[in-house]
């Protein structure tokens, strides 16, 4: 019928700048870099722990200072964003049917927020 449909190219490197929802998505995805880095910090702490009290105290001392604080603050923001973005889509991935009806999404999300608060308090209480 016609000879040449026109194909609009999409940039492979800057596509996500074209819409706010894509930027939100990329923000969610890059949280993994901070989780990755932080997990290696935990592994380093574990290594120090295995090397005895002196090594561990030196590790905690090294954690202090503006750089350590800044790193933890940045990671905190990233992980909280990860948690929020993860819980908010949980009802889509794991819907729950009770009897005939599906449980409303906001109930599942709020249940996760509640459990998150409880788990966080337990961890903080243990850490204090």
């Amino acid at each position: 019928m016609n000879s040449k449909p026109y194909v609009r190219e999409v940039s492979k490197t800057t596509w996500f700048l074209s819409h706010p929802r894509y930027k939100r998505y990329m923000a969610r995805e890059v949280t993994c870099i901070f989780i990755f880095a932080y997990t290696f910090l935990l592994i380093a702490a574990l290594g120090a722990l295995a090397n005895g009290q002196e090594a561990f105290d030196a590790f905690v001392l090294g954690l202090g200072g503006p750089l350590g604080v800044l790193f933890n603050v940045v990671v905190l923001i990233a992980t909280v964003y990860h948690s929020l973005s993860w819980f908010v889509v949980t009802p889509q991935a794991m819907p729950i049917q009770m009897g005939e009806e599906f449980v409303a999404g906001h109930i599942i999300v709020n249940a996760h927020y509640g459990a998150w608060a409880v788990v966080s308090l337990i961890i903080l209480f243990w850490g204090m």
């Binding site: 490197t13 989780i35 702490a45 992980t79």
Partner: protein, 113 residues
């Protein structure tokens, strides 16, 4: 069409996404407080060592670190692709090797505690 082997990694990614969503912010708060010298009685050698020396403590630490690593590694693989790097095989090898190395180190450290 062959069935994909992505489920191996996706399973760990999904488990890790859930676990990290629940526990990581609180863990970061603890290390942040330690970095700020907020409370000298927290994050001490004795309390953490006692937990890591306990078999269930070891298991929890290993589980959390394992799924955190593989969650982050798999999502990073996808993110690198999203930023336009098409060498998916090579990227996969690098990120999964990092996660594997972290897993191995965790295992060694835990066994020494």
């Amino acid at each position: 069409m062959a069935k994909s082997n992505k489920p191996i990694f996706w399973g760990l990614f999904a488990a890790g996404g859930t676990i990290t969503a629940f526990v990581t912010p609180a863990l970061v708060l603890i290390t942040l407080f330690a970095a700020m010298r907020f409370n000298m009685d927290m994050f001490t050698y004795d309390s953490i060592h006692a937990f890591a020396a306990w078999w269930l403590g070891k298991l929890i630490i290993f589980g959390v670190i394992l799924v955190s690593l593989w969650h982050a590694a798999h999502r990073l693989r996808v993110t690198v692709h999203d930023f336009g790097v098409r060498a998916d095989k090579q990227v996969a090898i690098v990120v999964y090797s990092l996660a594997g190395l972290g897993t191995l180190l965790t295992l060694i450290f835990l066994l020494r505690i």
